[in-house]
Amino acid sequence: MSPCVIGLIGLAILILLLFARIPVGFAMAIVGFAGFVKLVNLDAAMSLLARDVFSTLSSYGLTVIPLFIFMGQVSFHAGISRRLYDTAYAFIGHRPGGLAMATVGACTAFGAICGSSPATAATMATVALPEMKRYNYSMELATGAVASGGSLGMLIPPSVVFIVYGIMTEQSIGKLFMAGILPGLLIASLFCLAITLSCRRNPALGPPGPKTSWQGRIQSLKGTGETLLLFILVMGGLFAGLFTPTEAGAIGAFCSIIIAVIGGNLSFAKLKLSLF
């Protein structure tokens, strides 16, 4: 068999294993290992297994992933996501479908301090879903807003996906980050447009919430200060060349802890929750 045929068979087996709910990492390792055994020999594959596991786990570039996730967790446990949602809610909650749009808005803002889509979606689900349930939103619209809004976490920098892509293809992670901002904002506004249009066609989907006075709105803006500061510290430092994208994860996590502690939003118990 030619290596090409073996590769194609390997791909087919990989897809089969993935669909059988074999964890993605396990499936890829198993198929890769088996393919290497077939192409070279068992001894080489075994020794490669140990070396590959160690070199991947100790890869400096990949250490940024747990750190950015840690930063998102700290921000969530410090209540940043809730405050972002409250601000967006104060501004657009009274419109038809406003709570869903507020969810998208808060996801966009939270994406600026959280690098992963599932984390953004999970965070916003705990904050926004109960609220939308309270105002009798259609669950289709509510969960749709959370799930699609969560995907903005990946587009808006920092983004774990961009980092992995940048490392694999040797592209500038800083440029990738920069490139994610406009499409992210564009998609967020398109989401809001879609929500408005669906709610206009069927008002029962997202009944308007209570209106907030301008005074309340201005006051709610205070809640976005910490996000803005964190974003400027991390992205600003990155673009100013003070630290590398890989170091940005550690700096971001550290700054998020400092900001949360100064704001009185982070106890030791909450910090522990963010770690586990």
Partner: protein, 157 residues
Amino acid sequence: MIKITRLLIEIMNYLAAASVVAMMLLTSADVLLRFFKHPILGTYELVGLFGALTIAFALPATTLSKGHVAVDFMVEKLPTAAQKLCGVIANLLGLALFSLIAWQTFVYANILRSSGEVTLSLEMPFYPVVYAISVASLLVCIVLFLELVTVPKVSSI
């Protein structure tokens, strides 16, 4: 057996968390001190090694809580018996993979120790970290094995 496993997983989980904190503090200190022209020597390699410890020590707990990323939507459409079968296959494959990893990283660590291979700037030996990966993989195997033989009990620990 289950109690000891749970305790070990807990300990490893704490070590993983400590490694994350260590990476964060070390890198932040390095960046800060760089302003004053005193970067910390060997941050690059230390953070890499802490990263390896983070992932390795978090593996058993992730396995126990079924936190590995997997594709759900096809299996969900199958009948319960077929779903269980898929679970058992996943478990067996994982068991095979991690026993190989545990064994081979142990062999690799022995090689690294006898050849005395060290990191570039701090000249720290690599082998303790590789042993740690081996032990963590072994614990993953134990979790997978216990899950295979005592399905309801382990998922409740």
